[in-house]
Amino acid sequence: MSQNPHVNPAMDDLPLIQRAIEGDERAARQLFEKYQLRTFRLALGLLGDEADAEEVAQDALTYALLNLRLYRPDLSSFSTWLHTITVCRARDKRRRKFLPSISLTQWLGLGNQIRDHTPGPEAVVIRNETEDRLLWALDQLSPKLREAIVLRFYTDCSYKEMSEIMGCSLNTVRSRLRLAVDRLRELLGEEQVPWLATETLR
């Protein structure tokens, strides 16, 4: 949790980008270091599979860094641009996998894949329940709805940024997010959501 992907250091990137465009490899490396984890995690949120997420993140970063000249700072922040590329690559990845009807959780036994860290003892009981439900529920969403959830609630994008990233209108973002949230709540079933229980316990 040391690196917070939710801070948007929009303007600080410009000098780095400029230097990288001019051929400064160190500047490019700095951008890479800065964005690799958050790109990987965004991809993981979108795809639910670590190996796929690694591939997509590597691809997206490679593309972005090799095409920095295409980035338009006057139109969006660098992270929004990078998110856009990551989302496109994740879509690509999904297209190529041809797994339209089988949930990734079932297919890959994701239940074990996403958590290789042992949580603190006090949280163990609650955690297993919650996580399984949340990841399972995410897997039930269509890719577009899943994108909406991850972009809004994980990367903390505004609706406007989401419309740029997802390549759709603001109204489409609104309705997708609404559908997604409704569907998630339906899937999780409010009374069964352990986090609400936790909240009341505290």
Binding site: M1, R29, F40, E50, E54, L75, D92, F153, R178
Partner: protein, 513 residues
């Protein structure tokens, strides 16, 4: 905990819509609406409860997503070195000899794969089967290149014969596929490498590293490929020598797209200082032409620098005395271009009335033969006959064309209309008679893009319901033959920023005479 509003303070008609409440709870309402909702929930317990519910749900969802995702790190660290290797490509190259190399490994690999196909599984190979290629092809002779789930394939179709010529499995995300006019060569980029590929099985394959944003165009006779390399240089790759020679040096800052004149003696290009896009600033842009044989350069017209505006050369008029260029600017939201007619001798840029949508580095509605252009004049779709300087309104009320292609003689144009029901997306417009003709296709797929295939055929790219790949269909315009599916498993391109598609990133087609 969810209050269902059994005892509202106000009548239920007065409650804001759930969508509005949700947006408010997530902090995404516009200021004005936020104020309204704020006032409302101050007095309405039902809506207050709902907002609170949304807010809590959102916060917990965000917290849980972060908890689940933020503690995962890649099993194998991501590698900067994979990128750095390409970073070390020298930006300014001096000798043409260093800029191209025959890619023997790729060639060998391709050859081996190809041989393996024919040896292992006979003529009907797995790859062919996966593409569902039509066996008894009866359309015009064409070469097509397409990105599929098995990589880039090049297929040659002549009546009675369908041949898979090339398959490059590692080419999964190319850009700007351009077939030479004779279909013998294909150019595209992937990861900052310009690939020039002979389209016959076992043909040559050259790779040219680029320094950045590049543009390329085959000469009218297909014997040469002109390209800018992202470092300000303009090169000419010639097929008979399989090598490039420098036409415009880096000091000139040539960049972006190129346009050949009809007889292939001149290339129009744009220079920009600094090379765009640099931090959105204003660049000094000029339109130039270079004589291919002598290398003589002449400035044609100049643009005043305007922040974010980008100029591209598009096509020459048949006379060679003028050309067409276009410009995007932030004022048009970057997705609509202003067309300019350029008077070569008068050094004048004249803006035409009307705009054309842009997708990536290309016009979404390409210019037609004889300098015809489909434009949006703010109210109507209009066809500009630039040679004759006259405008022709498009008959009837037409939905927004998503992709457009022209017949080779410019007599008609074919369009796929955005939002049309499956099977009903294709229309033809005959210019002389000013008539529209709708083309009906089976209703199981949505039309996405269109390519004219000689005077009697259309190639239509269609996306079957619920699928994330596309199919290529052949439609005969004269016979009563039913439309036929030619091929499947074609990748859909990435959507551009305005929900358009960049078809030239996944598909190219050339009709052979």
């Amino acid at each position: 905990m969810a209050g269902d509003g059994n005892t509202p303070l106000k009548t239920s008609d007065d409650h804001p819509d759930d969508l509005v409440l949700q947006e408010y709870a997530l902090g995404q309402s516009e200021a004005e609406q936020a104020a309204e909702v704020g006032q409302h929930i101050a007095q309405c317990a039902r809506c207050r409860a709902r907002v609170e519910e949304w807010r809590q749900f959102g916060e917990r969802l965000a917290a849980d997503l972060r908890r689940d995702l933020d503690r995962v790190t890649p099993a194998e660290p991501l590698e900067f070195s994979r990128i750095a290797r390409q970073w070390r490509v020298p930006r300014r190259r001096t000798s043409p000899a260093t800029i191209w190399r025959l890619s023997f490994p790729a060639l060998l690999l391709g050859l081996l794969l190809w041989m393996a196909f024919w040896l292992v599984s006979g003529r009907r190979t797995a790859a062919l089967r996966a593409l569902d290629l039509l066996e008894d092809y009866d359309g015009p002779p064409v070469v097509l290149a397409a990105v599929t789930d098995r990589g880039l394939v090049v297929v040659r179709l002549v009546p009675g014969e369908v041949r898979l010529e090339q398959r490059l499995s590692y080419v999964t995300h190319p850009a700007g596929l351009q077939l030479a006019p004779d279909g013998e060569w294909l150019a595209f980029t992937q990861d900052r490498i310009l690939h020039i590929l002979g389209t016959r099985a076992g043909g040559a394959h050259l790779e040219i590293p680029l320094a950045g944003l590049a543009g390329w165009a085959w000469s009218p006779d297909g014997s040469a490929l002109a390209y800018t390399d992202g470092a300000g240089q303009l090169w000419l790759f010639e097929r008979h020598t399989l090598s490039s020679r420098l036409l415009v040096p880096a000091s000139e800052s040539a960049w972006g797209k190129l346009a050949w004149n009809p007889d292939g003696t001149q290339i129009a290009y744009v220079t920009a200082r600094p090379l765009p896009p640099v931090a959105g600033g204003a660049t000094h842009q000029s339109l130039w032409r270079v004589d291919v044989l002598s290398g003589l350069r002449v400035e044609l017209a100049r643009r005043l620098p305007e922040a974010g505006a980008l100029l591209s050369a598009e096509a020459w008029l048949a006379s060679g005395e003028g050309l067409l260029a276009w410009e995007t600017s932030p004022a048009d939201g970057e997705n609509l271009a202003t067309l300019y007619q350029v008077d070569v001798s008068g050094h004048l840029l004249t803006a035409l009335d009307g705009k054309v949508p842009v997708q990536g580095e290309n016009l979404s509605w390409p210019l037609g033969p004889q300098a015809r252009a489909l434009v949006w004049d703010g109210r109507n779709l209009v066809i500009w006959h630039l040679q004759e300087q006259k405008k022709q309104p498009l008959a009837g009320q037409l939905a927004w064309p998503q992709t457009v292609d022209w017949s080779a003689d410019g007599a008609w144009l074919a369009a796929v209309l955005a939002g049309a029901p499956p099977g009903q997306g294709v229309i033809l417009f005959a210019l002389e008679a000013s008539t529209l003709r709708a083309i009906s296709l089976p209703a199981d797929a949505t039309e996405r893009a269109i390519f004219c295939g000689g005077p009697e055929h259309l190639f239509v790219i269609r996306q079957p319901q619920g699928r994330e790949t596309a199919e290529v269909w052949l439609v005969s315009l004269v016979e009563r033959a039913a439309p036929r599916r030619l091929m499947s498993s074609v990748a859909l391109p990435e959507a551009g920023p305005y929900n358009g598609w960049r078809w030239d990133d996944v598909f190219a087609l050339r009709v052979l005479d």
